[in-house]
């Protein structure tokens, strides 16, 4: 049960208590009291009525006594010949509006005078209600009796009966006048003082008697209902008034828990205890906010510290790791601070080397990937070692292909770079041949040969890419040409461009190969093939002033003819010059 419901219930109960007590008093205590009061009122009213009846009877009695004392009563002795007594009786009957008859009898009981004329002369029979002896006015002797035959209507007539209030005359406990039957009436009974055998019962309709009370009770019920509605409304409002800040508190607390937004505050609208609670809550949240901010700062610091530590550790291990991915020259120049790790480039004359494994794809299609990985890794490892030995910059591995250049970041001079490059290529070819023997022994039966292309030219060298990811590489048509040369090379051969050849021809034995027009080039490029082993057919004369290399193995008849003519020319020239 919510606080609001409970408050409403308590307020209703509290407010109902007086109603309930009032209803209880009205319902039982007051009802009983009212009944007593009603009875006493009725008793009083009945007393008045009884008095009236008594008075009425007394009046009758007195009137009769008075009549009996009158002179005219002397007429009894003359048997009321002149009907003076009768006249008087009639007059009195009419005066009293008496229901019943006066009779005057003489001492023999014979009716002398009567309001009922037919009775005169008869002996009177039946009880009389009152009888008064009549004495002679002149000798005090009783001469007769004045009697009245009294009918109870006389008394009943005096009752002021209403529908709800009825007087009933009882004679010796027998009903004289039956009233209209009332169910469960309030009753009081009293006997007449003058005639105890007569009593009057006053009945009052209970429903009528309590109708006023019932009306009040009904009004109370209506008031109770209205009151309940009003109280419930007021209670609801009061509960709302009391609860509003509390609900705000709880909803804010819930919201803070949910959103972790400690900047929220509860509005403080009142200056009472609940307002105090709200501001205390706000203070608590402020405290928490500060504390959380402090904790956050602290934890951030710790994280930063940990990160920095990690980074330091990483930085310590980074060079070792990086060294595997970067060529040592670049790595060293970066870590020695010679070069900034920044986007930027410069133009340099470099010697570029490309190699790839002939028919690698078709060869490897038939191999398991684990074997392939091992094979390739071993190959690349060996090649890289050779490259590094010659001071090369290993630019990248493209699958089975390797791109290497000389001249950046360290350069021993363009000529030397080119030479080193060619020598490196030769070493590689040599090593591959050796490896092939090993692999053959290990079960890889397919010939494993590489082709190499070398070119020397101007390139743009530097870091390319974006700030977040950059690559130290070289670009330019020279690179492209080197790649094309490599493509044109025969398996197991090293082809170099003319630019390179010019630089290395003094040191490396080369023969001219067929020119090719690489893709993307509009002119044929002369190529030279590096002689890996000195063949028997090669005649070489390299001295100051002369440089002759002849490979007879590759010469056709026309060339040989041309050489013969050239040589004879030369002989003549030399002989001519010698004095």
């Amino acid at each position: 049960m919510s606080f609001r419901t409970r408050t409403i219930l308590i307020l209703i109960l509290l407010s109902l208590a007086p109603y309930v007590v009032t209803m209880f008093i009205l319902g039982s205590a007051y009802r009983n009291d009212l009944e007593d009061r009603l009875r006493s009122d009725m008793q009083y009213q009945l007393g008045i009525t009884i008095d009236r009846l008594d008075q009425n009877l007394q009046t009758l009695e007195q009137d009769m006594a008075f009549m009996a004392s009158l002179d005219v009563m002397n007429d009894i002795v003359t048997s009321d010949l002149d009907r003076r007594i009768t006249d008087m009786l009639l007059l009195k009957k009419s005066d009293l509006r008496l229901a019943g008859e006066f009779d005057v009898t003489n001492n023999d009981g014979v009716v002398v005078a009567s309001t009922q004329l037919s009775r005169v002369g008869e002996v009177r029979s039946g009880e009389s209600f009152y009888s008064v002896p009549v004495y002679s006015t002149f000798n005090d002797a009783q001469i007769g009796v004045l009697q009245v035959e009294y009918r109870m209507e006389n008394l009943v007539r005096l009752f002021a009966n209403e529908d709800y209030l009825q007087y009933i005359l009882l004679q010796d406990e027998n009903l004289v006048n039956p009233g209209t039957a009332m169910s469960d009436p309030l009753m009081v009974v009293q006997s007449l003082t003058s005639r105890p055998s007569l009593s009057v019962r006053l009945e009052q309709d209970r429903e009528f008697a309590f109708s006023a009370l019932d009306r009040i009770t009904r009004s109370f019920f209506i008031a109770l209902f209205v009151g309940m509605v009003v109280i419930a409304t007021v209670a609801f409002l009061i509960a709302g008034y009391i609860l509003h800040p509390i609900l705000q508190l709880s909803s804010t607390a819930r919201l803070i828990t949910k959103t972790q937004d400690y900047s929220r505050r509860v509005p403080v609208e009142r200056r009472d205890e609940i307002g105090e609670l709200s501001s205390a809550f706000n203070r608590m949240i402020s405290g928490m906010q500060e504390m959380i901010a402090r904790l956050k700062e602290e934890s951030e610091n710790r994280i930063k510290l940990a990160k920095e530590k990690d980074r330091a550790e990483m930085l310590q291990t980074l060079p070792t790791k990086l060294s595997r991915y970067l060529s040592p020259q670049i790595y060293e120049s970066i870590f020695s601070g010679e070069k900034d790790v920044a986007l930027g480039s410069s133009r340099k004359k470099l010697t570029i080397f490309f190699s790839d494994i002939v028919d690698f794809t078709s060869t490897t299609d038939q191999m398991e990937s684990e074997d392939l990985t091992q094979l390739l890794n071993q190959y690349l490892q060996e090649m890289t070692e050779i490259a590094l030995r010659y001071g090369a910059t290993v630019d990248k591995y493209i699958g089975d292909a390797v791109m290497i250049f000389f001249g950046d970041p360290d350069s021993a001079g363009v000529r030397e770079d080119a030479l080193q490059c060619v020598l490196m290529a030769m070493a590689m070819q040599k090593r591959v041949r050796e490896l092939q023997d090993e692999w053959h022994k290990a079960g890889f039966t397919r010939p494993f040969r590489i082709r190499v292309g070398i070119h020397t030219g101007y390139c743009t060298v530097g870091n390319f890419g974006t700030e977040s990811r950059m690559d130290y590489t070289i670009v330019g048509s020279a690179v492209n040409l080197a790649s094309r040369i490599e493509s044109s090379a025969k398996p197991g051969d090293i082809y170099i461009s003319e630019d390179t050849w010019l630089l290395v021809r003094d040191s490396v034995n080369c023969v001219k190969a067929a020119s090719v027009t690489p893709k993307g080039f509009s002119y044929p490029v002369p190529l030279y093939k590096v002689q890996l082993e000195e063949s028997a057919e090669i005649i070489r004369l390299q001295e100051e002033g002369v440089d002759i290399t002849l490979d007879t193995a590759v010469l056709d008849a026309d060339q040989k003819d041309k050489i013969r003519r050239l040589l004879s020319h030369l002989v003549e020239d030399v002989e001519d010059q010698d004095p």
Binding site: D71, N74, D75, V77, T78, S79, L81, D82, R84, F138
Partner: protein, 137 residues
């Protein structure tokens, strides 16, 4: 003419008077009361005398002023109505009331017959064996 009218008016009165004469003061035939002189009767009817020979006397008058009361008052009491009224007014203050009355001669006769000591007056022709005349007027 006037005389004639007056005479006509007076005639019945005088005639009646002439016819009415012949009344008697009576008592019960069983009464012990003897004949009486008019003075005595006068005293009895003026309640100056109540007893006669040990018997209590009860005079009874006729109601009103009709005959024979007027005649009786004139002849026996010797008083006119005015004098009688004066008499009874003055006696009223001394506790003496006038005699009892009866409304008719018949009643007077019955009363006298039935009440001991009663004494009344009736026309002579009403006197029968139950009554005894003690005086005539």
């Amino acid at each position: 003419m006037r005389w004639l009218i007056m005479a006509a008016l007076l005639l019945p009165v005088s005639g009646n008077t002439a016819v009415g004469s012949g009344y008697a003061v009576v008592v019960s035939s069983e009464s012990a009361i003897a004949d009486m002189a008019p003075d005595k009767i006068r005293d009895i009817f003026l309640i100056r005398r109540n007893f006669e020979g040990g018997t209590r006397l009860i005079p009874v008058n006729l109601v009103g002023e009709d005959e024979p009361r007027r005649e009786f008052e004139a002849a026996v009491l010797g008083m006119d109505r005015e004098a009688i009224n004066r008499y009874w007014i003055s006696n009223h203050f001394q506790g003496v009331s006038p005699p009892t009355t009866q409304a008719s001669l018949q009643s007077v006769k019955s009363f006298v017959e039935n009440v001991d000591g009663a004494i009344g007056y009736v026309p002579l022709d009403m006197v029968d064996g139950n009554l005894r005349v003690i005086y005539e007027f």
